[in-house]
Amino acid sequence: MTVVVDFTLPDERGASYRLADHLRTETVVVLFYRGDW
């Protein structure tokens, strides 16, 4: 069971992205992926 846990992570330009800030205005589709492993 996944609960929504807020996160603040750097995007590809190094800018900080906080989930809670975006959820204030819009629905967010969060994709987790394995990455270029």
Binding site: V4, F7, E12, A20, T25, V29, V30, G35
Partner: protein, 184 residues
């Protein structure tokens, strides 16, 4: 993009660095940001930790969550392997059900600098009681000691000697801690 048209933003999360993500956004011309979670703290907090991991350590499972402004998840998909993708129709309809939702506050819990939260279901995360720690470390020390005599390669021997010294140091620290808690 279909997601945007339906009023949803998209964001990707993986253990890759911002530089790797920048290359990926450029290469695939992605119209959404890719976030970097190198310690997998957020990945673990969202319960999408791949127990096997990648070649360089922990990674995320392929997973998709639709998160409404009401902080509910009307749609969650966790893939079994890297090739798994969910059917899009269910994803779109889940977005449609939450797009009109009223916002609710979301508590901050995980950040990029925070440690990976402990997971009670993960055996590696279960704490060892102090009384068990000394025998545990001693076992490791004697095993290392036995293996080191069987090694021919000097570099491997050196490496294992270092591990042995570290285990001995930990063992002494655990004994000292035990004494502080239970004198005598």
């Amino acid at each position: 993009m279909e997601f945007t048209r339906r009023g949803a933003a998209v964001v990707g999360v993986s253990v890759d660095s911002p530089a790797e993500n920048a290359a990926m956004v450029e290469k695939l011309r992605l119209p959404f940001p890719l976030l970097s979670d190198p310690t997998a703290a957020t990945i673990a907090a969202w319960n999408v930790y791949d127990p096997v991991g990648g070649t360089h350590g922990p990674i995320a499972q392929t997973a998709i969550f639709v998160v409404g402004r009401d902080v509910r998840i009307p749609y969650a998909y966790v893939g079994h392997d890297y090739a798994d993708r969910p059917p899009l129709a269910a994803l779109y309809s889940a977005i449609d059900t939450v797009v009109g939702a009223s916002p609710r506050p979301l508590e901050a819990r995980a950040t990029e600098t925070g440690p990976r939260p402990l997971d009670a279901g993960n055996p590696a995360d279960r704490p060892i009681p102090l009384q068990d720690l000394v025998p545990y470390l001693r076992g490791g020390y004697f095993t290392t000691n036995a293996v080191v005599t069987r090694l021919a390669d000097p570099a491997a021997k050196d490496e294992l000697e270092r591990t042995k010294a570290m285990l001995q140091e930990f063992m002494q620290a655990a004994v000292a801690t035990r004494r502080m808690i239970q004198p005598g």
